[in-house]
């Protein structure tokens, strides 16, 4: 059964049709990659999925429920997490604080308890901290725990954003160009981590990516977009041979 389904999504900005009748399904446990030249509508699609943009037409289903009308701040409690192409971290906070914010949706204590920092609150904080430490170990961030984000190199920041998304204990993870700005070595590491997230944490991944060798290495299925329309979709080997995709990338 498909975990995530997008049905006939269309969205226009003024006269520009950014997405035109796009539909696809993502199965539980797979790495699903969206590719396409610049301006193909990949990021728009992501912003529609994560509810920043309201589509003109179409519906989005997650675990069989229609989430097309859900407010953006409710998305993470449904179990959908995302990272951003240009990083959206809390710059003046430490890595640990950023990750702890990922646990925000799970805090159930009430206001007065928090004001007086009661044992119940302390117990909750400890549980959240343990979860965060698991993720820190998973992504090798031990070294940076108490460093401010604005003092970190770009590659580490990308990693922190991934970690923060994982801290929300998602069922599905949306990655917007996870390898952009990374060195070859960092991209290699990322490949292993994505495989680990898939196999160990059992999280489904939808990702936008440009680096084709990276895409072919980690993806189970690929969707190619061009000018807001679906060009092709299928296994990496099929996409590689697809005439339309070749034309879009290389020119006619």
């Amino acid at each position: 059964m498909s975990l995530f389904k997008v049905e006939n999504i269309s969205i226009a900005f003024g006269g520009v049709k950014a997405l035109n009748n796009v539909s696809f399904e993502v199965n539980e446990g797979e790495v699903f990659t969206i590719i396409g030249p610049n301006g193909a509508g990949k990021s728009t699609l992501f912003n529609v999925i994560s509810r920043i943009y309201q589509p003109n037409e179409g519906k989005i289903y997650f675990e069989g429920n229609d989430i097309s009308k859900v407010a953006p701040h409710k998305i993470s409690s449904l179990g959908i997490a995302r990272t951003f192409q240009n990083l959206e971290l809390f710059e003046n906070a430490t890595v640990l604080q950023n990750l702890l914010l990922g646990r925000h949706i799970f805090k159930k204590t009430n206001f007065l308890n928090e004001m007086f920092h009661t044992p119940k609150v302390r117990k909750g904080e400890m549980e959240h901290r343990l979860k965060v430490e698991e993720i820190i170990d998973f992504l090798d961030l031990q070294h940076y725990r108490d460093t401010l984000i604005n003092g970190l190199p770009y590659g580490v920041r990308k990693n922190v954003e991934l970690a923060r998304a994982l801290c929300t204990s998602p069922k599905i993870l949306l990655l917007d160009e996870p390898s952009s700005g990374l060195t070859n070595e960092e991209t290699n590491d990322l490949g292993f981590w994505i495989k680990d997230i898939q196999s160990i944490l059992k999280i489904t991944i939808i990702m936008i990516e440009h680096d084709m060798s990276f895409v072919n290495k980690v993806s189970d299925r690929i969707l190619a977009l061009n000018y807001g329309e679906i060009l092709a979709s299928g296994l990496p080997s099929e996409i590689k041979e697809d005439a339309g995709v070749k034309a879009a990338y290389m020119g006619e």
Partner: protein, 293 residues
């Protein structure tokens, strides 16, 4: 001795500036807009307290709490209904809007309550205490103690509570806050609500000194100077900025003869200009330090 006396008076009026400045800072940090109606909200607070305590004859504490609640709810809807409509417009639009709102509030107050000067009795009015030769009025004590308590509560609120942390997160990065499950728009309205509530507290505490009329909204101007002086960044900065201006104003007023006539009225802005020449970012700029909301 007289100097200490003056400083105490200055700290008290400075606390009021600081509280209003705090409202400026909270809203600016979160939404990057400046609410120029902050002083007018203080005025509304004083008037509502006058209606509840002076006219309806409610108990002071009850009247105080009710006033703060009413103004806080008012602040919430001010953002949710009016200010939110112009999100995405140039910053200038918000400036014009809030200045306009200030005029409306003042106009409403003079229509509804009239242009007379009102007062209502408080448990602090007219009482003084003597400590080692210093004469301290209960009103001043109430202002200083009230401000200190409020600062403590706000500190705990922003440091320990889920919603306080959500506010800091929303101030820092709206998009990321959304994906941490924080309802950012609601949080922004809450920040307006807190700012309005704090202004109302300042208004009620101030009422025994300045009495209640529409001109007290002008405190907003000096409070703005205090906020800039404090670096427009941190809560402590706003309060310290307010206190500095309060003390300088008090000293200038008393030693006017040695300086020049009327210096009291412009002292707040003189301090501001002099400080900005030396520290262009204000005293407590938040650059390169952890954001304190």
């Amino acid at each position: 001795m007289q100097l200490i006396q003056l400083i105490i008076d200055g700290v008290a009026s400075g606390c009021i500036y600081g509280l209003v400045a705090l409202g400026f800072v909270l809203i600016y940090k979160a939404t990057e807009t400046i609410n120029f109606a902050q002083g007018d909200i203080l005025m509304l607070g004083a008037f509502v307290a006058f209606s509840l305590i002076g006219v309806l004859g409610l108990n002071y504490i009850l009247g105080f709490v009710l006033t703060v609640m009413i103004i806080a709810v008012f602040g919430f809807f001010l953002d949710a209904v009016v200010v939110r409509q112009i999100i995405g417009q140039p910053a200038f639009a918000t400036v014009m809007l809030t200045i306009g709102l200030g005029f409306i509030f003042r106009g409403f107050a003079s229509i509804y309550w009239g242009t007379d000067i009102f007062s209502f009795s408080t448990p602090f009015s007219g009482k003084i205490t003597e400590v080692g030769g210093l004469i301290i009025s209960y009103v001043n004590i109430s202002i200083i103690v009230g401000t200190t308590l409020l600062m403590g509560i706000l500190f705990a609120f922003f440091s320990f509570t889920k919603i306080g942390v959500a506010m800091r997160a929303s101030s820092e990065n709206q998009l990321a806050a959304y994906y941490m499950g924080i309802p950012v728009k609601f949080i922004f309205s809450l920040i307006w609500s807190i700012s309005a509530g704090v202004a109302a507290i300042a208004g009620v505490l101030l009422a025994p000194i300045t009495l209640v009329d529409t001109s007290i909204s002008l405190i907003g101007l000096k409070a703005f100077a205090a906020a800039v002086l404090g670096g427009f960044g941190s809560i402590p900065g706003a309060i310290v900025g307010g206190i500095i201006i309060g003390i300088v104003e008090q000293l200038c007023g008393t030693y006017e003869n040695y300086l020049f006539e009327g210096i009291r009225e412009i002292s707040a802005y003189l301090v501001l200009i002099l400080t900005l020449i030396i520290y262009p970012r204000g005293l407590f700029s938040d650059k390169a330090e952890v954001k304190k909301v």
